[in-house]
């Protein structure tokens, strides 16, 4: 049982990093990036390539290089690659595209990357993907799977907390405020001296780095990495987690991750009638998932923990509970 619990904890941490990164783009900035799983994929692959040995006929995999680097270099490499590609994609899509067009552009970039990595075997073994990926610091743990899981959980936990702290700082700082202003009204923000392109690009690069980190961790944890692990549909749970938890709020992101990935994603299997209905499990999981999202949007459109009103000390006498101006919500993403 403890193994499974640890396994869930690890998944929670990894998914949390992913959801946090999505929150930076979607929640804070309203960038409709539909291609963010590409960064996850790339992070996973580079993390794997950097830690695996050189390609040999014995390994029977086809990939183009292997560096056998020690921890934490593969991780850092993965993050850097994510950021680099994030920068490129950012320049491509953020220069003069908004709203739906931006969303589709990112989707196109994602699909190109996906089809390419899936179809061209010699890069990262195509559809079969990479396997036998070394796990970081596995040498210092005991031989058993069990004790290593503890170690990995601690590692993932530390990184998740670090990411959380990072995102908190980004959002609750003048930088985050400027980013929000860009989201709300671009030309208004520009007239106040904010550079929308620069702000968007920075957020995108930072988020890409975080997404890539989630990819590296996931690949190293499951010791294998193949296209289905970062396919298009993986974006939906991440976005659902944000809806349920609350966009623009990191605590919301954490709660949403827990609800969507752990409660819904894993909990369903424990309902007794599921036991011998393997194909119903998935269907029901998605139905609950869909219903939950719909219900949340209906009853709590701002999520469990909505974006916080910025508050400053003193002068709280006039506080009034009001809802955000609905007709304006997401106008910014509409371009």
């Amino acid at each position: 049982m403890i193994t499974y619990a640890l396994n869930l904890v690890i998944y929670f941490f990894i998914d949390l990093i992913l959801v946090l990164s999505v929150n930076l783009q979607l929640g804070l900035l309203g960038i409709a990036n539909l291609g963010f799983m590409l960064f996850m994929g790339l992070g996973g692959y580079l993390g794997a390539l950097l830690s695996m040995g050189p390609n040999s006929s014995v390994a029977l995999q086809h990939y183009f290089f292997g560096a056998t680097l020690p921890f934490p270099l593969p991780m850092i490499g993965g993050i850097l690659l994510g950021m680099l590609v994030g920068l490129g994609v950012g320049y491509l899509v953020l220069t003069n595209m908004r709203g739906h067009y931006l969303a589709i552009m990112t989707l196109a970039v994602f699909m190109i990357g996906y089809t390419f990595l899936q179809g061209v075997v010699p890069i990262v073994n195509g559809e079969n993907g990479l396997y036998n990926i070394p796990q970081p610091l596995s040498a210092i743990a005991g031989a058993g799977h069990f004790s290593y899981q503890w170690e990995f959980a601690v590692l993932a936990g530390l990184l998740a907390i670090l990411s959380f702290w990072f995102c908190q700082r980004v959002i609750h700082s003048p930088f985050g405020r400027a980013a929000k202003a860009v989201r709300e009204n671009e030309s208004g923000a520009e007239a106040l001296g904010k550079n929308p392109f620069r702000i968007r690009l920075i957020v995108m690069v930072a988020a890409a780095g975080l997404t890539a980190l989630a990819g590296v961790l996931m690949a190293q944890y499951v010791t294998a990495w193949s296209p289905p692990a970062w396919s298009l549909t993986e974006i939906f749970p991440a976005m659902a987690a944000l809806i349920v938890g609350g966009r623009g709020n990191n605590w919301g992101a954490a709660l949403g991750t827990f609800v969507i990935y752990i409660l819904v994603g894993q909990g369903i299997g424990f309902i007794p009638i599921m036991a011998n209905n393997p194909n119903a499990e998935y269907a029901i999981q998605w139905t609950i998932f869909g219903a939950l999202v719909v219900a949340f949007l209906w009853f709590r459109p701002a999520g469990l923990i909505p974006e916080r009103k910025a508050r400053w000390p003193e002068r709280t006498s006039h506080r009034q509970a009001t809802s955000p101006p609905m007709s304006h919500v997401e106008e910014a993403t509409h371009g």
């Binding site: 009034q320 509970a321 009001t322 809802s323």
Partner: protein
Amino acid sequence: MLKRTSLESQAGRLAVKNLEVGYGSIPIVRGASVEVEPNRIVGIIGPNGAGKSTFLKGVMGILPPRAGTVVYDGRPLQGLRPDQIVSRGIGYVPQLRDVFDNLTVAENLDIGGHIARAGRNQRKDEIYSQFPVLAERRHQSAHTLSGGQRRLLALARALMSKPRVILLDEPSAGLSPQAMDTVWEHLGKLKDQGLALLIVEQKARALLSIADWVYVLVDGRNAVDASGAVLLDDIANLGKIFMGGSESNTDNHVNSVIH
């Protein structure tokens, strides 16, 4: 001085009684009453944030009234959707989002005439001759209009539906003095044609000199109402009424500015 007719149903009269409207749980308009009838211009003035626009939205069915009645032509309007209210013959020019940005001037007018197809083109031509600026720019997207042109278009769009009553939320905002004269003149003509006009304005002086009756709305309630001429005589007092009930406090404005 104008004699006010009784509440009893009179053809073409719009009577709003004790209207309460707000956003979510916050009450903004807390029981305001206004009446307007054909051949009349009725004005509403009041400080910023008094609830004037909210009042109009309540009448139009954009916000659901929590209390009060809206009766037009002897039949209640509350509970109807905005498009139903429009098709009863009530036109509306909103304060802010007032034209279809991405459609051309001509298309805006066509849509305005959506519910009154008969004679639509003729009315369009009339509007073009009344406001030649719009004719010049008929194939231009509305968002490329200047602020003043935009307001003209908003007014014209509402007129295209052949309304019997028309609610205007600050028609003069952004208009040059010249354009304002044209608009006031046009509104006067509409009144003479038998329309009922209900106008929210900040340019109190201009409104008072043309309106038959004016309501002063402060903090979501009727503060004063009188004929335009009477209020015009007493305009100095108006400022005090405004400030009395509003949240803004001008007295310490100037003093507090240390920049």
